[in-house]
């Protein structure tokens, strides 16, 4: 039984990371109908930004909670800026082109970030310094580290925060308007360019938090780490219902749990395929996702 609980905790902390990244995917897709392939790589940049900041603050020798918060804030700011930059330079020029062109551009940006990362950071994996000394708590037969706990708690808090922003603030209302109908939103006087930039900034900041949090518990970071994780987070967003924020959270947790469950069986090397198998099943059976709603296409 405690093995089951342990795996449940493992799955939740893995899923929380997917959820954080999925939130960004779902928001950008909701607003722009664009699958931002580069989002997973923003997560990677968040981890690296955190890495450099943590080393600058010499956190290996002086771990502290305050320092961790500072590093996280720093990474969030850097990634928000990067997100806005990407949108402005790469996505805005192709916004009026076909969806295909935007998709290919997104893939291009993703590759650029990955290989650019390899040039700038080096292709050799780095190990994140321990910003918070690892503590393992024992509850019954279950071991949970303080990092895993933090990941789960922080992502839930952020999800609630995001929900608040989207449903109870003016900018959130603007975001929702743009996601319904961009040209009409502009007619209503909304500065759509600003709203879109804001969406990217927000999503990227969330991905950065994911990057720093995960680097705490899985200390190995390398420029290609965003590729697979990003794809799975995208699947999580689709699973929960693309454009739906609680859906992204739910999707992320579910993918994390399923992946952990598969890893725990003899088929652990099929782990990567789980997310995609889930994707295919969902798209065939319920394309709108668990919490999403169907949209009829008008001719």
């Amino acid at each position: 039984m405690d093995t089951f609980l342990q795996q449940f905790i493992n799955g939740l902390s893995l899923g929380a990371i997917y959820a954080l990244i999925a939130l960004g995917y779902t928001m950008v897709y909701g607003v722009l109908r664009l699958i931002n392939f580069a989002h997973g790589d923003v997560y990677m940049l968040g981890a690296f930004a955190g890495f450099y900041l943590a080393n600058a603050l010499n956190m290996d020798a002086h771990p502290s909670v305050l320092g961790t918060i500072a590093v996280t804030m720093g990474a969030m700011a850097i990634c928000a800026a990067i997100g806005v930059l990407i949108e402005r330079l790469a996505y805005r020029p192709v916004r009026h082109h076909s969806r295909l062109t935007s998709l290919i551009t997104a893939i291009g940006v993703s590759l650029l970030l990955e290989y650019g990362g390899q040039v700038v950071f080096g292709a050799t994996p780095r190990f994140f310094p321990q910003m918070i000394r690892s503590q393992t708590y024992s509850l019954g037969g279950v071991q949970i580290t303080n990092q895993a706990l933090m990941i789960i708690v922080v992502s839930v808090i952020l999800m609630f925060g995001l929900q608040f922003i989207v449903h109870h603030t003016k900018i959130g209302k603007a975001m929702r308007a743009v996601s319904f109908n961009l040209p009409v939103a502009r007619l209503m006087g909304i500065n759509t360019d600003f709203v879109i930039a804001f969406t990217f900034a927000l999503g990227s900041a969330l991905a950065a938090v994911g990057g720093v949090l995960v680097a705490l518990s899985i200390p190995r970071i390398d420029p290609l780490m965003g590729l697979m994780t990003g794809l799975k987070a995208f699947v999580a967003a689709v699973l929960g219902g693309i454009g739906n924020i609680p859906g992204a959270m739910l999707g992320g947790m579910l993918i994390g749990l399923m992946e952990t469950w598969i890893s725990a069986t003899a088929y652990s090397t099929f782990r990567d395929a789980v997310a995609f198998a889930v994707l295919i099943v969902i798209l065939l059976l319920r394309p709108a996702g668990i919490l999403g709603s169907s949209v009829t296409e008008k001719v």
Binding site: R99, L100, I104, L112, T269
Partner: protein, 345 residues
């Protein structure tokens, strides 16, 4: 062209390829082709097959598939499996060894056929459920299938699993690579000029209107998918049995599919000549940049990515758009006929 004329062209082409193959593999007297360049030329041929076959779906039919690496994998592994485990037997029926050139070519035929068939089957299995979806979703589902295929192969020890199919017997040579490349081009071109092709263009232009016009869109899309997959499988079989180029699930992934997409995007989605040009350019480019790579490792992939982005921003139709290379361009006096000509508009 009359049947006799067509037959003559086929025979002459094959003879020419065989002659070239002889020079390529064995050299002439004291001269040989530098092995490094030879390898690049072989890779160009394989990439041409990949690009032109992908163009059938992405270009002619206007669907967005990013799972081409998966079909290459299925076909490649099946073909190589056949050669490795039954090649000697098959060659033996004809009284040849599998490593001597004649035996190798004899084994190549069933090997590639098996690869094509397996990949075609995969194309069917992937196509039928997926082609109900549109645009972005189709792209992601094809990606998903490709990754699932890759992970499955990773777990099959008989074909080398995670370390790759290193037991492959190197029976691929210039002749087979380029005859398959020519075959792919011919097949795609013939499809483009037929009613099948016309249906695909209709689907590409406006799928709902095409459906309303009575075209069975699902059927045509699946057919295109299956043919494209089969040809990708052939490319896989050729690639995996090239000397020192074993199939490896780590290489037949999402990034590989993207590389093929960049080839057709560069050349112009919808243009067969464009696909050939794109494939050639993008095989040579990374090699040419290799010396660059020594000083700044990884820079060549960055240039690759930048190229893609800039291409999408400034010239999304690629080098040739939808135009094709026609013999008219060579005819003295006729000059260039821009745009209209024989392009498939």
């Amino acid at each position: 062209m009359s049947l006799a004329r067509k037959l003559l062209v086929v025979v002459v082409t094959l003879a020419a390829l065989l002659a070239l193959n002889d020079v390529f593999e064995y050299g002439v007297g004291d001269f040989q082709i530098n092995p490094y360049y030879a390898r690049i030329i072989n890779l160009i041929g394989i990439n041409i097959t990949l690009a032109v076959s992908l163009n059938l779906i992405n270009g002619l039919a206007g669907q967005f598939s990013i799972g081409h690496a998966g079909f290459m994998a299925v076909g490649g592994y099946t073909a190589t499996y056949l050669t490795v485990y039954h090649g000697r037997q098959i060659a033996g029926w004809f009284g040849a060894g599998v490593t001597n050139p004649l035996g190798a070519s004899i084994v190549m035929v069933p090997s590639l056929l098996a690869g094509a068939a397996a990949a075609a089957l995969a194309g069917l299995l992937v196509g039928i459920p997926s082609l109900r979806l549109k645009g972005d979703y189709l792209a992601i589902v094809t990606l998903g299938f490709s990754e699932i295929i890759r992970v499955i192969i990773l777990n099959i020890p008989a074909v080398g699993g995670a370390t790759g199919f290193t037991d492959a017997i190197p029976i691929t040579n210039f002749f087979w690579i380029f005859s398959m490349a020519v075959l792919t081009i011919v097949i795609t071109r013939n499809i483009a000029m037929s009613t099948f092709g016309r249906a695909l263009f209709a689907i590409r232009s406006d799928e709902i209107a095409a459906e309303a016009m009575g075209i069975n869109t699902t059927r045509y899309k699946v057919m295109a998918f299956v043919i494209s997959a089969a040809l990708a499988g052939v490319a896989g079989g050729l690639s995996g049995q090239l000397f020192a180029n074993p199939l490896n699930p780590q290489n037949l992934n999402f990034v590989k599919s993207i590389e093929v997409i960049v080839m057709i995007v560069l050349g112009g989605i919808g243009s067969i000549t464009g696909a050939v040009l794109g494939a050639t350019t993008l095989t040579i480019l990374p090699e040419a940049l290799r010396s660059f790579d020594q000083q700044f490792p990884g820079l060549r992939m960055v240039i690759y990515a930048l190229l893609l982005i800039l291409l999408m921003i400034f010239r999304p139709q690629g080098l040739l758009g939808r135009r094709e290379f026609t013999w008219a361009w060579l005819r003295p006096g006729k000059g260039s006929r821009k745009g209209v000509g024989r392009g498939f508009q």
